[in-house]
């Protein structure tokens, strides 16, 4: 297909989520959401 879209977390939809339980990040991009991890 001319355009293929990867499966990604939609950031706009994550607004409804900021619990702060994720790790501090001296990185941001390679973090995982703690709530999503628990729900898996």
């Amino acid at each position: 297909k001319r355009i293929q879209t990867l499966d990604t977390r939609n950031l706009a939809q994550s607004v409804s989520h900021g619990c702060g339980e994720c790790q501090t990040s001296c990185g941001i991009a390679n973090q995982q959401c703690e709530q999503m991890k628990e729900n898996q």
């Binding site: 990604t8 702060g20 990185g27």
Partner: protein, 463 residues
């Protein structure tokens, strides 16, 4: 904001504000590039002219692709708007809790690495070891100020923290008692140069440490040029076997072998691959941040070479991964489906607000890279935060406070970058460290390319 780039044979389109990633063919790539500034008819004409010798590129095809783009736009996955700025200020107006402390358990070191930001581990001050009493008070301070946060993080840092190992053990035992009482979960990390990595330490760390950072710069000649003992002897031969033992006993998880590259090894991909060839599966490698006058400091003219190294590394990692011998590079880890929410992405690392460093005397600083600069002292663990004005200044350090970030495609992946690096390179907490930004953008591009390759490989294998 849409960022288009070509890497390793893939045409990649990143919709920065939604986090969506698209892989497209040449025609769609060109259409997307024209989409915002041209009419449909102009796009059809331009594409048909460019691809005149391609029989499959017809007006119907181009219009169909335009329709697909329109649908993605409607779905908020392409050309989406940045509607998050107000969230950043709202988030910062919330009551602030502290969820992580960096304990400077030792302001002393048994190595004398020439590029050390902590000045041989002493932070431009006196040598000192943190007492159990100060450390205990720091843990109590963290619990008291953590609100409803359950996960609390404590880094044992230095200097070389293993020079004060008995206190590390006592503090972990104390925290384990307290976490039951207060319904908290402590995650400890340890950063070490490996000189004192005995079997006892390895056993303890593998039981108690959530993550361990093992410092090694790569090839022997690279490492031993700058990571030297007090008498100038290289450290490679001494530490590598210890790190290998530790990594194996940790089942190759929950650690990083973490190096620093400098002007002396701008071919740093070779150092990363060397670390992987030593059997390490978790590797991190960071550019040195140094006074430009230092001989090892990275120069602006190094940049093209450095950017190319990240491409070389990504391609080699992909080759190894496909051959079943992959390894993880810290900056190429990116979780597209389970990554952090928008609040985390726009508010950054929590420096000076959620995260603080504690000196051996109990003084509080915004992070380990501000320790030693009295101007940035926030208070101490006995009397709490006394410089609220400074803390409020750090609360405003988010991606929207940095004007250079406004039009940067990587802003949702770096949150405005490292505040300490920005301060040390520009004198402003809300500045940006240009070289660091250039490198980070490249790393994000490579990380996404690897995700694209993984997705395409998976698709091919299931066809």
């Amino acid at each position: 904001m849409v960022h288009q780039y070509k890497n390793n044979g893939y045409n990649i389109v990143l919709d920065a504000n939604s986090g969506s990633v698209h892989v497209v063919d040449d025609v769609a790539y060109d259409i997307i590039a024209l989409y915002e500034d041209h009419t449909s008819q102009e796009i059809v004409t331009a594409i048909l002219e460019k691809y005149a010798d391609h029989s499959d590129v017809t007006e119907e095809e181009v219009l169909g692709t335009l329709k697909d783009i329109e649908q993605l736009k409607e779905d908020g996955r392409l050309f989406s708007e940045d509607t998050y700025e107000n969230l950043a200020w709202d988030f910062k107006n919330r009551a602030t809790v502290i969820k992580a402390l960096c304990l400077h358990i030792a302001h002393d070191c048994n190595l004398a690495c020439k590029y050390c930001f902590a000045g041989k581990g002493e932070y431009c001050g006196d040598k000192a070891l943190m007492s159990f009493e100060v450390g205990k008070r720091a843990l109590d301070f963290l619990i008291e100020n953590s609100g409803t946060r359950r996960n609390l993080e404590v880094d044992f840092f230095g200097g070389e923290p293993l020079m004060n190992f008995d206190v590390v053990k006592q503090l972990v035992a104390y925290a384990r008692e307290q976490e039951k009482i207060h319904n908290k979960n402590f995650r400890f990390t340890l950063t070490t140069n490996g000189v004192l990595l005995s079997d006892e330490v390895i056993e303890f760390a593998n039981k108690e440490m959530y993550n361990v950072v093992l410092s090694l710069d790569g090839r022997k000649e690279t490492n031993d040029r700058l990571r030297v003992s007090r008498n100038g002897k290289g450290s490679y031969d001494m530490i590598v076997p210890r790190f290998q033992k530790m990594a194996e006993l940790r089942h190759q998880e929950g650690y990083y072998v973490r190096g620093t590259y400098t002007h002396y090894n701008t071919d740093f991909a070779e150092d990363i691959l060397h670390i992987a060839d030593l059997g390490f599966k978790q590797v991190a490698m960071e550019p040195v941040v140094a006074d430009p006058k230092e001989d090892y400091a990275l120069k602006e003219e190094d940049l093209p070479v450095l950017l190319n190294q990240y491409d070389i590394l990504a391609k080699e990692m992909l080759r190894r991964s496909r051959g079943g011998d992959g390894f993880t590079f810290f900056h190429y880890m990116i979780d597209l489906t389970g990554g952090p929410c928008i609040y985390k992405r726009i508010s950054g690392c929590g420096v000076g607000t959620e995260y603080m460093a504690v000196t051996p005397w109990g003084d509080l600083y915004p992070c380990h890279q501000f320790v030693g600069n009295e101007k940035f002292k926030l208070g101490d663990v006995f009397n709490g935060i006394q410089n609220q004005e400074l803390r409020d200044e750090f609360k405003l350090c988010n991606v929207y406070a940095r004007k250079e970030c406004h039009d940067c495609f990587a802003k949702m992946f770096c949150s405005g970058g490292c505040t300490a690096n920005a301060y040390h390179s520009t004198g402003s907490l809300t500045g940006t460290y240009k070289l660091g930004c250039d490198l980070h953008r490249k790393r994000i591009e490579c990380a996404i390319m690897l995700k694209v390759a993984e997705a395409m490989d998976h698709e091919e294998s299931t066809v």
